[in-house]
Symmetry: C2
Subunit: 347 residues, 2 copies
DNA sequence: TTGTATGCGTTATCAC
DNA sequence: GTGATAACGCATACAA
């Protein structure tokens, strides 16, 4: 029930300037005398005028975004990619062109990845999304993209010591504490509080943070961590580690698996008689895990919503480029607790 | 890296028809010979052409949406309104006009509400959102809006026996089961499983469903419900009910509060010596509750994300009207488990 | 039923 | 630095 929206013409008439001047006032890189710009912006604010984003995108050049994905754990990264793809689809009317490069980690995949970034740089893209790369060698590449005026968003890893524009990831400090609290809840009135953690790859920044956070949480929520096992993100290794854990601590009361290595643990628990009596907090949600959540081997799992991370990265990068609405720092997505009673939503 | 997007001109040239014909082909209400329409739609699909939504909205009439909010619990409904407001702000470039009417429940608020719906009808709005009304008398109003070609979305209550286009609400069946599972987790190795539930207003459809779902969950997760108390959504009444509950069952092991009546319960627990030993699952998250979540009187709370419900309702209604992408049925939002370790995100 | 011409609110390009 | 004007991709009133 408000007044009709002002247009660029109204404002131009009001101020006795050309519509071009109004348009330029909103583009910081555009040439316009300081006084005129200030006057225009001031009266624009007064009338609540903002350029119509549809009309402006319609008359603007195409935006080119390059996406580089170096998959680590396939099922997890494919969700990120899905999110990116959907964000792209939703924004396709805004004249965007998206160049997606999806690689699997392997022999020379890292070199390939770096080469792709060179291509993005050479092609003068407007924005780049880098997903699943945490190695130091990528940092100078990112910095040269930024120096060339290309915005860079990273997904899953932060790379905070590079010049990246922003990054989308989970708050691993919170996840670790949540895991500890859930273990604490499950051991609420139990005397034996011996807990072991199975982590992905101890050297990756993610898992370092997770271990630290789980330790902190353990203090708060009275959980007794007796050991942390590195599964090297390898199912076979995870299998060995579970066996070893139960050899070393036959009376484990609770388990936290911080990576997509939960499956071998489920299978181990299935084969011992008191498997269901052990509290088990897992990570992520994927089809193979569903039955174990449903039948109670997994009491709860912490889901990072990789889809949303991907979606967010693309969406925010676009708006940062197109609307001059910059995003910066780390965009943390909210981890969710999934149990059998709400698994339904995550299938 | 794909081909340049086809425009309406490309398609018109390709088929030797006017651009008007192409445009009309995508509007079912538009006059166009059957064969021509089919040919156009077929080749459009072949080339992956869809009308550019920005360009089309730019040349179309304003869409008018009316919002009626009848607040029940203020802090909760204001979040819904925030969601609606933000969705509106994000879509404002699409030529939308939104008429917001926010009422507090009181003496004649229901009559006022119905009058407002009459106004919306008379003004020939394109869409209407109704929020917080569950009384039967609203159903004929909704139906006449629909009959006039106005799309109607309801929020928080479904009103499935009206002709409403769709509704955004929480899945109360899931929430009830989650509450039961959380109680079950907290009582994992405890013999005394006596649990009481405090519900909002037993006559409202929401709470009926919640009670039923909690009962079902209790069977699954081995929780022993000894009583259900109706607090009539009134803090004073809630206070009396807690007192009574503890008189009738002095050894309560767990509590589930299904409405915004958790605060009096927290205060009661604070004043008895074994308050923290009682498992307590609450509902929603609002500032007054924060300290009780942090200091452990509340073990977990189930958050319905009213903001998202509001946002969704507006967003989906708009797309249903503008893009001819209809939404129907009940859009269930995902309830979240909030504990002290992740409360941070919900402050 | 079909096509033409105009407008939607901007930015880019080219003059000045 | 500043202002005309041609796009941008589409819907629609109007004419045929």
């Amino acid at each position: 029930m408000q007044e009709k929206r002002k247009t660029i013409y109204d404002l131009a008439e009001e101020l006795g300037v050309s519509i071009a001047a109004i348009s330029r006032a909103f583009d910081p890189d555009s040439k316009l005398s300081k006084e005129k710009r200030e006057l225009i912006l001031a009266t624009a604010k007064k009338y609540g005028y903002t350029p119509n984003r549809m009309a402006s995108r319609l008359s603007m050049n195409e935006i080119k975004i390059g996406v580089l994905n170096l998959s680590y754990i396939k099922v997890y990264y494919s969700e990120i990619i899905d999110g990116i793809r959907d964000a792209y689809a939703n924004l396709k009317d805004y004249k965007i062109d998206c160049d997606m490069r999806v690689l699997q980690r392997g022999e020379n995949s890292l070199d390939e990845a770096l080469t792709i970034l060179d291509e993005f740089l050479a092609a003068h893209y407007d924005g780049v999304i880098i997903c699943g790369v945490y190695e130091d060698c990528v940092i100078p590449k990112i910095d040269s993209l930024i120096d060339a005026g290309i915005q860079v968003a990273t997904v899953q890893y932060d790379l905070g010591h590079s010049k990246r524009t922003f990054s989308c990831l989970s708050n691993y400090n919170v996840i670790g504490e949540m895991a500890a609290q859930l273990c604490g809840m499950l051991l609420r009135d139990v005397k034996n509080r011996k807990t072991v953690m199975f982590t992905g790859n101890k050297v990756s920044p993610t898992h370092k943070t997770l271990i630290e956070a789980f330790r902190n949480g353990a203090k708060k929520y009275n959980v007794d961590i007796v050991a942390v096992y590195d599964t090297k993100d390898d199912p076979e290794c995870a299998r060995e580690m579970v066996t070893r854990a139960f050899e070393e601590y036959p009376d484990i009361a609770a388990i936290y698996a911080s990576s997509a290595n939960s499956l071998p643990i489920c299978q181990y628990l299935e084969n011992i008689k008191h498997g269901k009596d052990i509290a088990f907090v897992a990570s992520d949600v994927f089809p193979d895990l569903h039955p174990y959540i449903e039948n109670g081997y997994i009491d709860a799992t912490i889901y990072q919503e990789p889809y949303k991370m991907g979606y967010n990265a693309f969406d925010k990068l676009f708006h940062s480029i197109a609307d001059n609405k910059p995003t910066s720092g780390a965009v943390m997505s909210t981890p969710r607790v999934v149990m059998s009673s709400n698994l339904h939503y995550y299938k």
